[in-house]
Assembly symmetry: C2
């Protein structure tokens, strides 16, 4: 086992071909896999055996960094739950309820939020005072188990958490599950399109893109600034506003823009541990969702800013903020992560810890409102001034 | 002065005609008003007098409930700040900086987030070590002062906070400040349109609406449910998802849908103090933004649910949640608010406090996913089963 803060590094956990296959799986394939697990349980029961449910072991002990693919992923440890085990029985029952419900969603073309799943399944078991679920955390855990068991993401189970994120630029989408609505995200005023919780190919088709790259932006205000400056039109860019940490649907969209359309992805965040973390989750995935990186991450993404070099180059010393002790602690942790172990990032993190300052995207307004759109970003992109 | 939790009730603070005028004010009128205040300062200085800045007194001591208009508003107490006063000088300087900057935005057709205002204006005053602003709270406070001084909202100063909220339905908008983009919010797939921070008439024109009412929805997941069920099409409804407490842009949109297009507004929240508060802010406005209710509130809005009667009628006892002590405390406070002082609300609040339960919108999924769209809402709307 690796030391705290470090993850085991391995070569190639999944093949690119198997990832590509996972990527395109639709409701039919996923429903089949749920059915298969259920049928195995039935068989076990019919043979007087103890029915089992197998899922991947999660948590740091099974998280690895796949160096070849450049993503955080899960190793091959698994966990098995059996019905005839007093410690497992309740959770086993709950898992089968979630299996049955998501199977129903998939075969009836319905989708639901994870909270709805909880409420739909909560009931008192006949002639007892026992409820199927007492708390949403219980059903959420079963959803996670099922995702890992059938090796897919919850969005492909037609289940989702809250959406967040906005899309702007010359990209035409088709909602194949909803009147085949077809719309161009450059023509929705400055508001832009609200990115959905589920951005699966069989739901949302990316019909046409006219762009040279994707610019992912941490803050809503910077996203609005770039829309107002007409940055997308003038630079042929697709703008994705994450509004803080990117939601799953937003990460899935960024992933698809890169893998389906070969667009480079540049990530623009505040120059601080929270911003760096947002970047690293978009690029390599996260430890919490390690099993899903192959569908959510974008390993070739580049970091465009803010950097401490910007502070010097543009004389922004006066508009930096002090790092809090928690920021410094976080930066120190990041220094040890495998995916920040390259010279440019080690320098950046060490410099931040030494100067104890952070710099926000919007600090660029100190130059002028237009500066970020007219000088800062175009110059960085032209000269390929990125952190890896 | 009224007792804690109660607000003074007054008849008619502003006339409807003056509100209507405020409503339509564009950048030109607002810029003129800023200029007028600045010119008065200049005159005072030229006459060797102490320049003054007058704004409205805020806080509970000057908050009143205008019973005729049905909105929370400010009374007529004001506060004056002078430059030649050591306690006021710094803030006076800051206020003039904000005046000058927003004047520039308005006359150059630029907009900015409140964080950008801070960063744009922050600098060290020549030959001193004194910064104009040390913290965004300082510039935010000046923006609020200016709003109250010239009697408008920050959005009309071309300044805004973060956007939140989503729009779906047969409504055609034109972004008059951005390529005259024209789009119908029924045709953007299930994502819907991301509501902007500023929804002023000179920026976003509501060109056409084909709907019978506006349904405002607290949770993103319920909003998504209703979109998936095609509720907007089937019921000719405009759906506004607030994602929790409604942002200012969202409140402004709801207000405009009602006042410009005479659409009834129904608000659908969780049946708990947080949900009731979301409703009351949409309907009467809030104490914190009392001066702006006439542009943000929608006094004829109705509350469609969730109610405790729903729990009984639909047998949802099993999917209620326990109220926390803080919920009960909050409900008790609300009981004393002038705008909840009507029989139906008094009954509802008392019942909740007695049963100590809350009921979420998504608990309706316990009946079936479609139940809310097929039965619950249509029945309530048909029978006008609302709380006032």
């Amino acid at each position: 086992m690796a030391k705290k803060g470090k993850k085991k590094v391995v070569k190639r956990v999944s093949s690119k071909a198997s990832i590509r296959k996972k990527e395109l799986e639709g409701p039919k394939e996923i429903a089949e896999r749920i059915k298969k697990i259920a049928m195995e349980m039935v068989k076990e029961i019919e043979h007087g055996k103890n029915p089992r449910f197998k899922t991947k072991l999660r948590g740091r002990g099974n998280v690895v960094f796949d160096e070849d693919l450049g993503i955080i992923t899960l190793g091959d440890k698994s966990a098995t739950r059996t019905f005839l085990n007093i410690a497992h029985a309740r959770k086993f029952l709950q898992t089968t309820l979630v299996m049955s419900k998501t199977y129903e969603y998939l075969t009836h073309n319905k989708t639901a939020s994870i909270r709805e799943v909880y409420y739909e399944l909560k009931h008192t078991i006949g002639n007892t005072k026992e409820n199927t679920f007492e708390d949403q955390r219980e059903s959420d855990a079963c959803i996670v188990d099922l995702e890992h068991s059938i090796d897919t993401i919850r969005e492909k189970l037609n289940v989702h958490a809250n959406p967040k994120g906005t899309l702007y630029g010359d990209i035409t989408l088709v909602d194949r599950q909803h009147h085949n609505d077809t719309f161009n995200c450059l023509k929705l005023g400055r508001g832009g399109w609200s990115i959905m919780s589920r951005m699966e190919p069989h739901e949302i088709e990316i019909k046409k893109i006219n762009a040279k790259y994707v610019l992912v932006i941490e803050t809503s205000a910077m996203y609005e600034r770039l829309v107002e400056e007409d940055f997308a039109r003038k630079n042929k860019a697709i703008l994705v506003g994450t509004g803080g940490q990117a939601a799953r649907g937003t990460r899935r969209l960024i992933h698809r823009l890169h893998f389906e359309h070969k667009l480079p992805v540049y990530v623009f965040t505040d120059g601080d541990p929270y911003g760096w973390y947002i970047y690293s989750v978009i690029k390599q995935g996260s430890m919490a969702l390690a099993a899903h990186s192959s569908l959510l991450a974008c390993p070739t993404a580049k970091y465009i800013g803010m950097t401490l070099e910007d502070v010097e180059e543009y004389g922004l010393q006066n508009v930096t903020e002090k790092m809090k002790p928690t920021d410094i602690k976080r930066a120190k942790e990041m220094l040890a992560y495998e995916w920040f172990k390259n010279k440019p990032w080690q320098n950046e993190l060490k410099k931040a810890m030494q100067l104890k300052i952070r710099i926000e995207q919007q600090a660029l307004a100190n130059k002028s409102l237009e500066f970020v759109a007219k000088e800062y970003l175009p110059k960085k992109i032209k000269n390929k001034e990125f952190l890896p």
